[in-house]
Point group: C3
Chain length 358, copies 3
């Protein structure tokens, strides 16, 4: 079960081309992505309504897509408009189309009720498009349920333990309780680590050895979007007073999108606004991120193996889980709402009648 | 569930040897094949009745087979005739034997009620044994239910889409409705494609560039046997008038045999009766076939992946499916008959009594 | 279902280190093994009670183990003693600890009720520690239920069939019925093969070509422990009279421990007390054992594949199965006892009341 009525990241813009059919499984559904003649990204169910073949093995004919198993032709909205050797098109011959919005280097898709899709609800990742910032595009595939990845991202106390040589730092970092606030569709998590040794990745892009003030302030939004402002500055010169003149600052955009119940996609980037004309700095920052996220990858798959051995295993909650528990509760509430909305009207609207009947 | 009372292709003759035990899983059952002293192919369940070890890891002793786990010895009919360290053979110590007929380079096996096995029911693939024809033996393994492969073979409209550079041809081929007739245990499917560009594989073995008449006439028989007469001739000189003097002609024998519910064997060949003394022509024709069938293999596995993502997926039927739907209906009817025949006599013969009792 | 209240071999002593966390899945449970400051082997569930991460990816801090996902710290008995960013430790924050006994090069673990764990019940493998004997340590992993491996070890009639060139010998070996006696928690199986050709592995370490008397006498104990005295001596000079002066003698210690329902660990060794100062002899004997056990490995996996094809397959019992059937019966009885002991008191102690109520 996945939340349907929400925007998911389907791809980096750079993954979708005008002359190539791109396929990715999202929420248990094969999805075909391509650019039409106007350059606009289109999304169809990547499963021909006839015998289930992937349209992505097919052929673009202008803005139409022909299935190259038996030759059915589909309009960009998914309507079948040609079936070889017959004139009449069966009325149910169509594949599902999905609302898609491409903005700031990400392709967002809406897998739920298209009536509810509002592009204004898409989180703003402005720095992905802003020439003042530099980053590389990252992607990892996970063979675990996506909530194990969002759990990870909702509790940064794992940084010094999982990432001591990359994005982590002194273990005192883990002993700080972050501030957690509600924001629309998610949580804002803020952590100030004052007068602490600079983290390994910061030492790679500065010559700092003296203590720094470090901050991580991020919104974590349904269905699994992390938008972060972070940085470090010489201790005492930095935030929380908001004086970033001497700081190294980062903007991170990360998104977790379910593939199946047991796998997910992870899109990520870490932008910087200093040394923006030195691609080596961008490379170093990106490589540290990849190294760090491979550390998470190994840990989370090991966790998943352990959980699979005992379906009855019950986790012991601790204070560190505050944010991830709140986020899981948000997801559950959304799922419940969608289930209720999908139930037949009689069961929804007249519970008292159901009670009488039973 | 598989049809049991029918002849399946178990192997090419060349796969079964006198001095080697050959094993293949057919219809969820491990089957041992070898040649006895008379050169006759024998088939036993390849699973020792004692602890389930494969007899194919055992040893031939004349016409007997010894299991090389614990030493039980079996007669060629499957009866156990020796158990180490005891004189008495348990009466149920036997493995199942299967009727086998080797004819025209194929080994056919009957996995159902042996009383019903009639070699006269085996389809005639005479050209596999006829010196006027040449071919190479082909085999592919599929990790899909066998019906996805028979579906493919029952609708040649996929040829121009899946095989544009091998056995396909102009897309107008797909716009022709074939003639479909009932024959004993199957369907006869006939397609005449007049005045069309020669197919790529025909261009490889002729110097033709002008339009040809092309025909594909095949019987597709339960459980999954394709026997085809096909060919091309300069447009106007050819069939349907039946004048094949200037034609290139082919005979194809293909068979799909279930391995498990999710895998199957595919045996194939494409014989030609021209240039029979030029092995390069035979090689070229065979290589085109392998290339084409690898194209099917990729498409059908991609289709299977898509179907696995949604067990509730419902295919939209179109006119192209006429033959495959009729064939699936034949298979279902056979399954139903076998189920009914397997039901207890009381339930079969006296339904009224059953009704009274309930 | 596995017997719980019994000692299992968890590892060779040499696998467990003071400065390294070792992990192995035993009875569906991930288990962490290490040596404390006193060199004593400790065992904890290798699954942090917080989010299920493996403690084996963690860090030793003296005799404590820190989980390196979120930093929880555990005492050697499994009690959580530190949770980052909070003072109070949840009372249920603990991982399970297991009684462990290291003796004679094996680490034994008790996965059941710790109250019942009695080190005196551990079988004696004295020769693993005796300077008069030499051996190498062996280990194999199986992807089959452990009972298929214990079946194999309980019926040595497979030796001449599976191992003709390693530990097997003349097939007359298989025609001898061994003596089977009850011993505490298992069976004693004795086989004397008089005046037979020396086995291949014996020929490798002697210059014998004349017939020998060969014996294999072993206890096979719950849950899957084989302790064997075996050897060969020139025919007529040897046992059963117990005169071993001219014999080559071996002591074998082997143990099968379930990993999951479909996989297991196999620990083994074959000690000799002749040529003990010639490591090449020890190597030769060990290599033959590895070759032989790879032969079993191939056969048992092939058997498992065959059994998996038909869950309804029923084995035909023969006399050879006497020991393995008795052993399987012992295991079943133990499982039944443990189930009964685990049932609620009302159901156990007052069956008559249950009868009345029903």
């Amino acid at each position: 079960m996945f939340v349907k009525n929400t925007w998911y990241v389907a791809a980096w813009s750079s993954e979708v081309h005008a002359d190539r059919l791109f396929s990715r499984v999202l929420l248990d559904t094969p999805v075909l992505l391509w650019r039409d003649a106007q350059g606009q990204v289109r999304a169809l169910e990547d499963r021909c309504c006839h015998r289930g073949a992937p349209l992505s093995r097919g052929r673009l004919e202008g803005d139409k897509v022909r299935c190259l198993y038996h030759g059915l032709l589909f309009a960009p909205d998914g309507q079948c408009i040609e079936v070889p050797a017959q004139d009449r098109i069966p009325p149910n011959a169509r594949v599902r189309g999905y609302p898609v919005v491409e903005t700031k280097q990400w392709v967002w898709i809406w897998m739920g009720d298209p009536e509810l899709a509002n592009p204004a609800d898409i989180p703003d990742t402005y720095w992905l498009d802003d020439p003042a910032w530099r980053y590389r595009e990252g992607y990892l595939h996970y063979n675990v349920n996506y909530l194990l990845v969002t759990d990870n991202l909702l509790d940064f106390s794992h940084l010094p333990y999982v990432h001591p040589n990359t994005v982590g730092g002194d273990e005192s970092f883990a002993r700080l309780r972050p501030t957690i606030e509600n924001v629309k569709d998610g949580l804002r998590i803020s952590r100030w680590h004052l007068s602490s040794p600079p983290a390994p990745f910061v030492r790679k892009v500065t010559d700092w050895t003296d203590p720094v003030d470090r901050w991580n302030i991020y919104d974590f939004l349904v269905p699994g979007i992390l938008l972060m402002h972070s940085g470090s500055a010489p201790a005492g010169t930095g935030a929380p007073e908001g004086r970033f003149e001497q700081a190294v600052e980062f903007r991170s955009a990360q998104a977790v999108t379910p593939e199946t119940a047991n796998s997910c996609h992870y899109f990520f980037s870490q932008a910087h606004n200093f040394c923006i004309d030195d691609p080596k700095v961008t490379d170093v920052i990106h490589q540290v991120l990849i190294d760090a996220f491979n550390e998470d990858h190994a840990m989370i798959h090991a966790q998943q193996n352990n959980l699979a051995l005992d379906p009855a295993f019950e986790m012991v909650p601790v204070g560190l889980d505050a944010a991830l528990n709140r986020f899981r509760w948000m997801i559950d509430k959304r799922l419940e709402q969608e289930r209720a909305a999908a139930a037949p009207v009689s069961a929804r609207a007249r519970p008292e009648a159901a009670t009488l009947a039973s």
